[in-house]
């Protein structure tokens, strides 16, 4: 995850940083019977998985794509998904085998995603902004995001909640969300379950069951609904009552800081 922008270092010196709250929010969405997989720049979801394992989901499995360490120890967490430290793990699988199993479709139940652009239906784009052949911004490329079509639940995370990132429709569809909405989603007949949640530095979002568009669920402490609406480049579904994101418990924070002992989520 990006360490720039300063938002990872929100909160007081001892209270939870924004990045820490985001890790807790992702962890809350992981279950004991999940097998999760993640790739590029995935320190945040790796920490979330380790936190879930050490709290409510001890039997969760997670694969840190790149090195493909299985249940890496972290402590400390590292910023690169290809760092050799991720082989301090229960076991490891060759990347080519992980790619093979991603195709099987019934092995991995959770896939973490993100993007330069994330749209109202949860589609992700890491390739380009504007026309692909002469883009105004060329991103790195789509990596494994097309596999989102085949996975149980997609959890999206980003450190950038602004109108350039949150757009009505992605310029390049790399990682499929609910495509163009209910009709196209039904027509595609995909085996995956689609995006389940989006966690940002401002809030946590879900998807409206009818429209399959993003819907505000909770705002993080100190953030207003208006701020989220202004930071989102499409018409966001906002329910009448938007609760505050529940704060992490002291226990969660203590465990989180033992996992992320280098303070990546605190901007370290």
């Amino acid at each position: 995850m990006s360490r720039d922008g300063g938002r990872t270092n929100g909160g007081s010196p001892t209270g939870p940083a924004t990045g820490e709250l985001m890790a807790v929010e992702l962890a809350r969405r992981l279950r004991d019977d999940d097998v999760a997989v993640m790739g590029t720049a995935s320190a945040l979801p790796q920490i979330a998985c380790r936190l879930a394992k050490e709290t409510h989901a001890p039997d969760l499995w997670f694969v840190a794509g790149g090195t493909c360490g299985v249940n890496p120890r972290l402590a400390p967490a590292v910023p690169s998904c290809c760092d050799e430290d991720l082989l301090r793990a229960d076991t490891a699988v060759p990347l080519s085998d992980v790619v093979l199993l991603e195709g099987r479709g019934d092995v991995f139940t959770v896939f973490f995603s993100g993007g330069l652009q994330i749209d109202a239906h949860g589609n992700c784009n890491l390739v380009s902004v504007g026309d692909r052949t002469r883009p105004s911004l060329r991103g790195p490329g789509t990596v494994g995001l097309p596999f989102l079509a085949r996975v149980g639940r997609v959890l999206i995370y980003t450190m950038a909640h602004n109108p350039r990132t949150f757009v009505e429709r992605v310029d390049f569809l790399g990682g499929p969300g609910f495509l163009d909405g209910p009709a196209s989603w039904a027509a595609a007949g995909l085996s995956g379950g689609g995006p389940a949640a989006v966690v940002t530095p401002l809030c946590t979002l879900g998807f409206d069951r009818e429209t399959l568009r993003m819907r505000l669920e909770t705002v993080h402490p100190g953030v207003t609904v208006q701020q989220v609406v202004e930071a989102t480049g499409f018409e966001l579904a906002v329910p009448g009552v938007v609760p505050e994101t529940p704060p992490p418990t002291d226990d969660q924070i203590a465990i989180l800081r033992s996992i992320d002992s280098g303070g990546l989520l605190r901007g370290g």
Partner: protein
Amino acid sequence: MNKVLSLHDAVERHVPDGVGLLAVGGMHLHNNPMALVREVVRQRRRIRRLLTSPCGAFNADLLIAGGLVEEIATSYVGFEHLGLAPAFRRSVEDGSLRVLECDEAYITHGLNAGAGGLPFAPLPAGLEVSDVWRANPESFRLVEDPFTGAQVLAGAPLRPDVALVHAAEADAAGNAVLAGAHFVDRVMAMAARTVVLQVERVVPTEAISRHPVGTTIPGFLVHAVVEVPGGCHPTASHGHYRVDEDHLRRYLAMAGGAEGPRAYVEQYVRGSSEADYLEAQRALAAAEAHR
């Protein structure tokens, strides 16, 4: 059979100018065969098409920075948490570099198809909803599954003319041991017509044959072995050294500025022998350690 060559000779003999498909191993900022990459830049070998692992990094960006790459087949070129790849980004945005858009599944299975002589790689259902294959009609087709009649996505086999791959060690015959993560380097070596290995050290064959199942690339696939201790710098070499983020940040600052990457390429690559470059980096690291 002794396949050990100097860095200069390995590139001169095995990487022809105008090479059709050159593959570079390593993933993100780890196990990039940078000594070989720098030597390709010094010898100005033009590359008609470059292929990366699912995540190319400095290996690809430096070849692009050297003005050598006509087209790139990739699913990612970037510096992960450090930022975007400046030469790649600039060249695509100004239209001078054509991208054959790939994804991780195609690169991996396409290399397997290349390694196995498979006519193409059928890809899992659902991948056709992404825009990747529409953006790259040369590499992807929708075909009829002969068993079910369903339309499925197929990728052309990937057969690199030359693969540049890093391994921790190898014997003189090219039997190589990859330390740490394998990424897709084994598959890349199996698919390529010519494999040039960069290693931290050349070891006696007995050191390999003591634990033969630990051999991850067999020598019969390898054409040249180049011993360059520290040669992955500034990327990491698993089992040996970590990423030099300070150096990479210097590259990103230099290459990301208005002047582009030319000054970096002149100072650190074309204006410096590999031995001088690595010696200077070692001296810097030692000075840093003493501070």
